[in-house]
Point group: none
């Protein structure tokens, strides 16, 4: 059974409002002396109050044991099968700079690199050139490179990384990386597996030969490597699937890009944590679904800084009353995956989930934490079901069958 | 989603070590006056200590309500879809005597039987002849039977049962049993459903007509029946799928055979319970995965002897410190299915699972038992996910998606 297809067939448009408050990398592992996770350590009186009145559970973004990247983690949150809809590397890189991809575009990661006089790669990252130098090189390339047969876009990302997008008819993405993976080897020739990909190869070869000439006197970035060819497929939008008017209130480009992928409106928002909540209040009347994304829980986890992760969670908790005051019909608080400070990385541990709504059957949990979630009414479930649950609690789903 | 395919695509080879301590038929049902299961009744201070520091859960080998045989039970433990990879009866019989099957072999169960002068079966088990008599008959048949078109192997199993293997090109296994299932009927003629199976039929018919002649003056085993034609397909090995160097420390042929099926190295081990642990210690440096199989929990359950099952569990518990002293990165203690003494048979009840590792998020369980497992962080899950969990806790899986 495809749960999203089923939900799509039952969804109806109503005025009820759903808020997804996503603390990136929320789930943790025990830290410190008392065996408590970051979320369990944090003083969260407001979330605890919601936990008492709501339901808790633990969700697996992909499957037990599988650590998700940000792409699959968010797709699962949004109710899209994260394996079926796996996002290619080039596309993710383009989303990460908020590039407005169109269906059929082929996006490719670029690494500027250094080659010696024989054309052998001696530094795969060109000494991690500055982002400014990267921007200058991209500008120079764009001014000079002419491609026949398609439009192209070239945008700097960060340090030695950039993104290249081809927009044309019938392009494929079954091409190898030119990155030899090891220094001391020349960049690999491109080869294409099928006819559409041969069209892309013709474009990429034009790009590469001109880029080689243009960059030859630069130092240290005198060449570039192409990686992660990925065709962009249009995703069914939030409105098509759920009949939701959805907006994204997110500060980081990657998450704005992921939200754009599923057809959310992307809102401008300042840099501070409070700004997320300010925008939510301002646009409250205009939408029925609000994706609010908080990045700093994940960043602290990745840095192994459990105290800072606790602080971010506590700071979010202090802002919860502003969300509650808006009287959402359904408020979901969770993450896209776990990022335990102990592991300094995304992990496979299931993600704590809190759902507050008037229509929940209460459970035994008295606070929001991983162990409290073990006693929650939601049990352990695939994250992909979270959207169907939220839609159901918001009374937005028709009955299935007569 | 095929979880094993996904895990295969993410597995990396590392030095971390995983131990699977499998107590066959571990799960039970309440016995005696206090409503406790065998595992709950057993004094298991060492496993309880691991339960406090680890995570518990309950696993369904196949699906809720389905009682597994040993084959599917172990395939699920090893992370292979037990329905997709169902092992045919003939193949299981061959595995049960540690017969080294090769891909393409067709294995068939043999029952020696008794027929009257008209060729009608009057005892489908030939009065359960002794294993020695069985061995004598097999030897006699092997000396005389010549098959054209393929190699064959004939090995006694136990009492009236033997196993026949054909090794040749392009053989099939879509053939009926010759066992009429009822006394008073003649053995059935073989019929084959497709061309490869017709090749097998040609071999089996040669075998049957010669065997009939050779056995005709024997008593009571003056004929034999063929059952469970099954072609052996090579399974993806533990190293191919998980990048694990795996060994099996098992005393019973069936489990050694199942481990060989997935490419584990099969180690010699003495008859005593302690011998399993001695071998584990001896070979510790050589492998990254250790399948340790304890049979006697199941045997006691099958005999309906709950007190003996409790004793076996307690005896295993006393040996646990020897495993812990080796400092495995992940220690899994579970069974391949439940065998409640009350039912004297394999049952469908989910199997208690304990996972101990440095990377667990602790749960509320304080001891190892079926009801404690209800409070475990692993929840209830398909047994096929156990390998992905173990791989994850051992930090042997890459992130899925960017």
């Amino acid at each position: 059974m495809d749960i999203q297809e089923l939900v799509k067939s039952l969804a109806r448009e109503t005025d009820s409002k759903i808020v997804f408050l996503i603390m990136d990398g929320l789930g943790g592992l025990p830290v410190g002396e008392h065996g408590k996770t970051e979320l369990e350590l944090a003083r969260t009186p407001n979330m605890d109050e919601l936990a008492k009145k709501g339901v808790l559970g633990l969700a697996d973004p992909i499957a037990p044991g599988i650590s998700p990247g940000s792409g699959p983690g968010h797709l699962a949150l949004f109710g899209y099968d994260p394996v079926k809809y796996l996002i290619g590397r080039g596309v993710l890189e383009a989303l990460g700079i908020d590039f407005p991809l169109q269906a059929g575009d082929v996006a490719i990661r670029i690494n500027f690199c250094t080659v010696d006089e024989k054309g052998v790669v001696i530094d795969r990252r060109a000494g991690r050139i500055s982002t400014e130098e990267n921007a200058r090189l991209c500008q120079k390339l764009k001014e000079k490179i002419k491609i026949e047969g398609a439009e192209y876009f070239l945008e700097p990302v960060k340090e030695h990384r950039a993104v290249l997008v081809f927009r044309g008819e019938g392009l494929g993405d079954k091409l190898n990386d030119t990155d030899p993976q090891l220094v001391g080897k020349a960049p690999l020739e491109l080869s294409a597996e099928d006819e559409p990909s041969r069209r892309t190869k013709a474009l990429a070869d034009q790009f590469l030969s001109q880029a080689k000439e243009i960059l030859k006197d630069e130092h240290p970035a005198n060449m570039l490597l192409l990686r992660g060819f990925a065709k962009f497929h249009r995703y069914p939008s939030f409105y098509e699937v759920y009949k939701l008017k959805a907006c994204a209130i997110a500060q980081y480009p990657m998450y704005r890009g992921l939200a754009r992928l599923v057809g959310m409106e992307i809102l401008d928002v300042g840099d501070k944590l409070e700004d997320l909540f300010g925008v939510l209040e301002q646009v409250w009347e205009r939408y029925t679904f609000f994706f609010v994304h908080i990045k700093k829980t994940d960043s602290a986890g990745e840095d192994g800084d459990w105290a800072r992760k606790v602080e971010v969670i506590e700071a979010v908790d202090r802002l919860i009353p502003r969300v509650v005051a808006l009287k959402p019909d359904v408020l979901v608080i969770t993450g896209d995956h776990s990022t335990p400070s102990k592991l300094k990385a995304h992990s496979f541990h299931p993600v704590p989930v809190l759902i507050w709504s008037e229509n929940v059957r209460r459970d035994l949990a008295e606070e929001f934490g991983e162990r409290a979630c073990l006693q929650g009414a939601l049990g352990r479930f695939p994250m992909q079901y979270l959207m169907s649950l939220a839609m159901a609690y918001a009374l937005k789903l028709e009955r299935f069958g007569a």
